[in-house]
């Protein structure tokens, strides 16, 4: 027995609690969660890359035994990163695991649970997306209506509701249910406009573009054009402008070929300026232009 003690004595100087692997896994999950960027953007993206292997290692060690808020947050953050580069199956698994943890810790009617439901519904081809978003919207509604919520909390819930509505509109739109999509997009837009002064992180242009696209699918090009022009006036960066112009190119490609080519060219020049000629975003307007030239017989 003495030899066993001696062999394991590296840990002997630690206190009883510290001699378990579970103790260190808990702590490591906390550290990595704090360090991991909570949202994905070009600025945080490199940091995500640095921390991804460590997050993966933490999650593997935590297995299914650790039920902690920090672990759920870490899983959601990594899932967002995976989602952003198309690793949808893994993102879905992580979001399911995070949902399970959140439901156990915070219950079904909590912001954490509703947020995870919204994220889960945004996985492409999710069969139950509308159900998940309806559940999330119900929870947001309940929390918003609580009399003891502060103004800041209400603003937060307001923004989350707009995001969930936008997500539901996208699901409807991809299913060809444009009237339902338009209702949700308009509501989301109204909510975003109401809080834009207080919350500068709200993305207005993606909702305007989604709404314009739904109208154009319904054949209401006049309304769609007006919305795209509004979107252009509210773009905060060149890439958002290029995306909007690319959408406009797509819309015009149905009948106004010269206008379509003009918008594609503008989008192309912005993409080329921001990136280089080999960049995959450059192919979007190029493909669109190619299709127009095919229609024109050129």
């Amino acid at each position: 027995m003495g030899s066993v003690k001696e062999a394991g004595e590296l840990l002997a100087s630690l206190n009883i609690e510290e001699r378990t692997s579970e103790y260190w896994v808990r702590r490591i999950v906390n550290y990595v969660q704090v360090a991991y960027p909570p949202y994905i953007s070009p600025e945080t993206w490199r940091k995500c890359g640095v921390y991804n292997p460590h997050a993966e290692s933490c999650m593997r060690h935590a297995g299914k035994w650790l039920i902690a808020r920090e672990l759920s947050q870490l899983k959601r953050a990594v899932a967002s990163n995976l989602h952003s580069f198309g690793e949808f199956e893994r993102a879905k698994t992580l979001r399911h695991e995070a949902l399970d943890i959140n439901q156990r810790i915070f219950g079904f009617e909590s912001l954490e649970t509703a947020d995870t439901l919204t994220e889960l519904a945004q996985i492409p081809h999710c069969n139950s997306a509308v159900d998940l978003l309806n559940k999330a919207l119900n929870v947001y509604g309940t929390i918003y209506a609580r009399p003891n919520s502060s103004l800041q909390e209400k603003l937060k819930v307001h923004k989350k509701t707009a995001i969930a509505l936008h997500a539901r509109a996208m699901v409807y739109s991809s299913a060809g249910l444009y009237s339902e999509a338009i209702k949700d997009y308009e509501l989301a837009l109204e909510m975003k406009n109401a809080i834009i002064e207080e919350r500068r992180d709200v993305n207005i242009t993606n909702t305007l573009n989604g709404l314009a696209k739904a109208y154009s699918h319904q054949g209401n090009f006049e309304k769609a054009e007006e919305l795209y022009q509004t979107s252009l006036s509210r773009c905060r960066n060149p890439i958002a402008e290029a995306d909007t112009r690319n959408h406009m190119g797509n819309m015009y490609s149905q009948c106004h070929f010269n206008k379509s080519l003009q918008q594609y060219n503008l989008a192309l020049s912005i993409y080329e300026k921001q990136y280089n000629a080999n960049h995959n975003l450059v192919t979007k307007p190029l493909n669109g232009m190619g299709n127009v030239y095919v229609i024109l017989g050129k």
């Binding site: 027995m1 030899s3 066993v4 003690k5 001696e6 062999a7 394991g8 004595e9 590296l10 840990l11 002997a12 100087s13 630690l14 009883i16 510290e18 001699r19 378990t20 692997s21 260190w24 896994v25 702590r27 490591i28 550290y31 990595v32 704090v34 360090a35 994905i40 070009p42 993206w45 490199r46 995500c48 890359g49 640095v50 921390y51 991804n52 292997p53 460590h54 997050a55 993966e56 290692s57 933490c58 060690h61 990594v78 995976l82 952003s84 580069f85 198309g86 690793e87 893994r90 990136y275 280089n276 080999n278 960049h279 995959n280 975003l281």
Partner: protein, 365 residues
């Protein structure tokens, strides 16, 4: 003012795309059967090499040496180091590569990004790519750059079976005794002023390296212990044999390759245990990915361990350095060029497998 040597270094140091290339050892031994020149020759001949072997045999080290030598000679125009030990690591490195080359939008499908990189590599005629620690060959299945002329790839992997990669394979086994002795003495005397004056006891060194199964990682760890404690080789051999017997009494090992590393680690642990901060830091690091543990994360760990606010960056760094010093001394961790820390995956594995198991057993006694 910069010396001319430093100026040259600044001008000619190329950008390495992908992840952080690990730091090579200062004690690299050019093995007879797999010398650096021979490996480079095979690479030029075949354009793709697969280096295999059990953990701790020096696969990554050999790849680093080829990488470094190519950079020193300015042989290629571009260099890529991709950590393929897991899907997440590999994809992260691919994304970093695509972003650094400015060829893909970061919020795009990973398959598109892979294709963008492959397309880019087709347009470039001079590059070297390392795919390190490929445990699962499915991961790189769809990532086969078109090789031609000066487009070269080195893959390091534990095993060559279960792969349909039709390439030149270099199997790294235990060292030859003379090489092992050279490694031990080189690692032992490294950074010691007395190296030239001290008699090199090659006979006892030969005995020790044989005891260590001619295993390179175990030899480096034994040398680190000897260096840190100014101990003699015969005394270490005695301790090693005793400890190895004890380990066998406790639990027979199925994974025989780990025995030398585990035994050398336990001997070093007995010295490390006095520094509780270091032990705590080591415990925490054991659960992170072994490569490129970011310095800010380590600083956060040590601040928490010290239970102090760690107000200034310099005080945090000093505190971290003092906790890391014994881990560097016993060759448990290495510092990477960007300041991050790396731990050999076999050391991490052996620690996790052994320490917690013993701790659990003791708790149940």
């Amino acid at each position: 003012m910069l010396s001319s040597k430093n100026k040259f270094f600044l001008v000619h140091t190329p950008i390495v795309f992908g992840g952080q290339a690990p730091q090579g050892t200062n004690c690299f031994i050019n093995r007879q059967q797999t010398s650096l020149a021979w490996v480079i020759g095979r690479l030029e001949e075949n354009m793709q090499l697969l280096i295999t072997g059990v953990p701790g045999m020096g696969k990554t080290e050999l790849a680093i040496q080829v990488f470094k030598s190519s950079i020193d000679k300015n042989k290629y125009k571009r260099y890529f180091w991709l950590n393929a030990s897991s899907e997440l690591s590999f994809n992260s490195d691919l994304l970093q590569t695509a972003r650094a080359l400015n060829i893909a939008h970061e919020l795009e499908d990973i398959n598109d990004i892979r294709q963008c990189i492959l397309n880019f590599l087709r347009t470039e005629d001079s590059w070297l790519m390392i795919l390190d620690n490929v445990d699962d060959f499915d991961l790189i299945e769809g990532f086969r750059p078109f090789l031609h002329g000066q487009r070269h790839v080195i893959i390091t992997a534990r095993r060559s079976r279960a792969t349909n990669i039709n390439t030149c394979c270099i199997q790294l086994d235990s060292m030859q005794k003379s090489e092992a002795v050279e490694l031990l003495l080189k690692a032992y005397t490294y950074s010691r002023d007395i190296s030239d004056k001290e008699p090199k006891n090659e006979e006892s060194a030969g005995l020790l390296v044989e005891e260590l199964g001619l295993h390179p990682l175990a030899i480096v760890q034994a040398a680190a212990y000897l260096r840190a404690n100014q101990d003699t080789i015969p005394s270490y051999v005695e301790m090693y044999q005793e400890k190895k017997r004890e380990l066998f009494q406790w639990k027979p090992f199925h994974e025989r390759n780990y025995v030398p590393v585990l035994t050398t680690m336990i001997l070093s642990f007995s010295k490390l245990k006095k520094d509780v901060r270091t032990v705590r830091l080591f415990c925490a690091i054991a659960f992170l990915s072994p490569d490129s543990i970011p310095q800010p994360l380590c600083e956060q760990l040590i601040c928490d361990i010290d239970q102090g606010p760690g107000e200034s960056a310099s005080s945090r760094k000093l505190s971290l350095d003092s906790a890391l010093e014994p881990l560097f001394a016993y060759s448990f961790v290495k510092r990477v060029s960007d300041g991050s820390i790396s731990i050999h995956r076999l050391v991490q594995y052996a620690f996790s497998k052994r320490s917690w198991a013993v701790s659990r057993k003791l708790a149940n006694c």
